[in-house]
């Protein structure tokens, strides 16, 4: 038997997707988060950007009927902050990952397809970027530039493409060697045609999976930046909520809800994207379904002892 290529048609994809519990769970988690973010003004009980008159009592109020998740150090409703915070995380995650995947995809495909000197330079550059610890660099750059939402997206996106580039390059290398690419060349097809019709469609599933997985990394990076105080001060984000909570005595006030809530949000989104990513990977590339360590297929199966014939 020849190795079946990793191909899936639209309908087969949905069938496989629906059967994959991990992917469906991840998608459900993300849809909830996405709905909350999009309809934040309708869902949130208070407007977090509206000024509030604070009294001593309104700071760090315990969760109660008026504030389901209590209030923070500025007397604002934590639940509303939490819901609006999802917007920043999702925006940064999606846009930054988009930038990363576009850069990584371009570099990976060109290096893998053209090879030679171009590949050596591109991959050397990729390795160089790969060994620089991302987070300190991001912190430094954001600290030097102004910490606005756009800057944060750009910095995270421009530094997060290295793994994508490596994966895409190796996938391209193997597709390039397949016979149908040679056949296309023998027809007289140029590089652009081969890249567009043969390489890209077969790299695409990898890019999709990768972008989903990178979103969760970007969300974590964004939260870390905000937690370190490098967030856009005009927008509420979960990292920023954590930062304020730490700096303004939530711990000593035993206001656990101020800490747990944004933490839970980050975990929810990262988990959702990771589950969806791994689920998609299994659906799009059935070969990863079996792993020799997870389950050893039973070699022998007999229903019942048979009577030896006379």
């Amino acid at each position: 038997m020849t190795d079946q290529p990793t191909l899936i048609t639209g309908r087969a994809f949905w069938r496989g997707f629906r059967r994959n519990r991990i992917a469906v769970a991840g998608l459900a988690m993300l849809l909830i988060a996405l709905a909350a973010a999009v309809f934040a003004p309708a869902v949130a009980p208070y407007d977090p950007y509206a000024p509030v008159a604070i009294t001593v009592e309104s700071i760090y109020q315990r969760p109660g009927p008026a504030h389901w998740l209590g209030t923070d150090d500025a007397g604002k409703d934590v639940l509303s902050n939490f819901i609006f915070g999802a917007r920043v995380s999702l925006t940064v995650g999606i846009f930054a990952s988009f930038i990363s995947v576009v850069i990584g995809g371009l570099i990976g495909i060109s290096a893998g397809y053209f090879g030679g000197r171009l590949e050596r330079w591109l991959m050397r550059f990729t390795d160089f970027m790969l060994v620089i610890p991302d987070l300190p660099l991001i912190v430094v750059i954001v600290a030097i530039t102004r910490p606005s939402l756009t800057n944060i997206i750009l910095v995270i996106g421009l530094l997060g493409w290295t793994t994508t580039a490596r994966l895409v390059r190796s996938q391209t290398l193997s597709i390039k060697e397949r016979k149908f690419v040679l056949r296309a060349r023998s027809i007289g097809a140029g590089h652009l045609h081969i890249l567009r019709r043969h390489i890209f469609p077969l790299v695409l599933p990898l890019l999709v999976v990768n972008s989903v997985l990178i979103i969760s990394l970007a969300i974590l990076n964004e939260s870390t930046l905000s937690f370190l105080g490098l967030s856009d001060p005009t927008r509420i984000s979960w990292g920023q909520m954590l930062n304020y909570a730490f700096e303004r005595g939530a711990m000593s006030s035993r206001a656990w809800w101020v800490l747990v809530t944004p933490g839970f949000g980050i975990v929810w989104l990262v988990l959702g994207f990771t589950l969806l990513g791994h689920g998609l990977e299994q659906v799009l590339n059935p070969r990863t379904e079996w792993h020799h360590l997870t389950d050893h297929p039973r070699m022998v199966s007999l229903p019942a002892p048979l009577n030896p014939q006379p």
């Binding site: 007999l302 002892p305 030896p308």
Partner: protein, 324 residues
């Protein structure tokens, strides 16, 4: 007549795939094998050749099940053995050269190390030195030469890798070797070398060999008898001369006409229109009926029984039955 080395009777294998009716991959196939005898197992791809050979070793994939029959090796029922007992039979009594396995050698271990490992896995009492000696012996036997034991698979050509696979299969001096497409994807000359080697080993070691192949030339050159399978059933089972010179089943006849014969260069090649049926959607009557040039009404209703023309020539066809 002495009792045969291998006696297979009425062996049936079903495949169970989720959401599909069970597929009858092999149905009531039987044959015998004497020591030192070579049998060809031929048919198109998907006709159950490989499934049958895996079933003999009880190495079916999880979806496959042996549902009936008996496989006796030296009078011992293999299907009744416990799994550890069966593991002992595999390789030491019956071994197999898997199709395409020569491309699945571990690229980062030397050929010698891989053969030694196979030797020691089955002969745990051997010291590494003894295993190495045995490996050298095996490599000499298959014409690689002990000097090349330290080389890695990428330093071997396709033909040499296939020789290494044969050495591995012979590691425990088995009495039967099943060779699944041992020469496909090799050049003509290398093919001839490998077949020559297998034939020599058969004579020198008294091996019984089952050649699983679609290459009728290989079978004609090397085998004593032939089992022609179609869609999981025996089409014809006879001595090699009967199969090639008096084929009785239309499938055998068509298959022979489709195979190029250099001794008759002017004979036009024939093709068999259509495809073998899927094992989960078999036709009700004779499984070959939809493609058979000699088909008549009864073939679509009745499945023909295996009919003995002589004690050594069996064919499953209504035409044969009505004739005799």
């Amino acid at each position: 007549m002495t009792s045969p080395l291998l006696d297979v009777r009425d062996l049936s294998v079903d495949f169970h795939l989720p959401g599909r009716p069970p597929g009858h991959a092999v149905s009531r196939v039987g044959f015998t094998l004497q020591p030192g005898e070579a049998m060809g197992l031929v048919g198109e791809s998907g006709c159950g050749k490989t499934t049958l050979s895996l079933a003999l070793l009880r190495l079916l994939p999880p979806q496959g099940r042996i549902v009936s029959g008996s496989v006796k090796f030296n009078g011992r029922e293999l299907l009744a053995l416990s799994e550890p007992e069966m593991a002992n039979v595999r390789w030491k009594d019956i071994s197999m050269i898997f199709q395409g396995a020569m491309n699945a050698l571990n690229p980062v271990a030397s050929i010698g190390a891989q053969i030694s490992e196979a030797v020691r896995r089955h002969y745990s009492f051997m010291t590494p030195v003894e295993a190495r000696t045995r490996t050298a012996e095996l490599l000499d036997m298959v014409g690689i030469g002990a000097a090349r034991a330290g080389q890695y698979p990428h330093q071997y050509s396709g033909g040499m890798r296939q020789r290494a696979m044969i050495a591995m299969a012979l590691a425990c001096s088995p009495q039967i070797v099943i060779a699944d497409e041992p020469t496909t994807a090799l050049d003509v000359m290398i093919q001839a070398q490998i077949l020559d080697l297998l034939d020599r080993l058969r004579r020198e070691l008294g091996l019984a060999v089952i050649f699983v192949t679609h290459d009728l030339g290989v079978v004609a050159e090397l085998c004593d008898k032939v089992l022609v399978m179609y869609a999981g059933v025996t089409a014809e089972y006879a001595g090699v001369d009967e199969i090639y010179n008096q084929p009785r089943h239309p499938y055998t006849q068509e298959l022979l006409k489709a195979f190029p014969d250099l001794s008759r260069p002017r004979a036009a090649l024939n093709s068999i229109p259509g495809y073998p049926p899927r094992i989960d959607a078999l036709p009700p009557g004779c499984r070959f009926a939809p493609r058979c040039p000699a088909v008549f009404d009864r073939c679509h209703i009745d499945q023909p029984a295996l009919h003995a023309l002589t004690p050594e020539h069996l064919a499953a066809c209504h035409l044969v039955e009505s004739e005799s």
